[in-house]
């Protein structure tokens, strides 16, 4: 069961990577006006996220998973 889930995950990730490599998705570098908004950041409220993670870590068996890379204004 674990091996199947793992392979499924790899296939899923590979599919997404292939789609991105085709460059059919995305915007021009000067079209980041919406993505640059603070509310559009992947971890827009780090303290809220940390508090939630803390609560659910104490009450549930699965924890974490979120990170924040990419998105934003794409500047520099």
């Amino acid at each position: 069961m674990h091996i199947r889930s793992f392979i499924g995950a790899i296939v899923w990730a590979a599919g997404l990577l292939t789609a991105t490599a085709c460059s059919t998705l995305g915007v021009k570098p000067w079209q980041h006006e919406v993505l640059a908004r603070p509310a559009m950041a992947l971890n827009a409220e780090p303290i809220d996220t940390a508090i939630d993670d803390h609560i659910y870590f104490s009450k549930e068996a699965t924890s974490g998973g979120r990170s924040s890379a990419g998105g934003g204004c794409g500047c520099n």
Binding site: K28, Q31, H32, E33, R37, C73, C75, N76
Partner: protein, 130 residues
Amino acid sequence: MSADPLLDIAAYRGQVLYVDFWASWCVPCRESFAWMNSMQAQFARDGLTVIAVNVDHERADAEQFLRSHPAQFRIVYDPQGLLPEKFGVRGMPTSFLIDRTGHVQSRHEGFRLADRDALAQQIRSLLKAP
């Protein structure tokens, strides 16, 4: 570069052009404006012209930015993004240095405080050329 209704490079022959692409949502652009003001003031009589092309979707956003970061150089408004497409801009901000004969000599992606001196040096060397 062919004549463009938004920005005619040929009209600036004889001048060294610093063309910068900026937007109100671009945080490094706030630092670049202060520096571009000082470059324009310092080298205007030597033949430097700074032109900042704004690519904001909404003109009001650009104007709000200019109220808190006044520019002593020319602003061109290109909300449809025709000029960055033409210049091949790959990231924000991007600046191009064009020599007195109208040829693009260098492109600079991003704006970092650490790069200011090297950029000023490049401008000086282009200004020295006839």
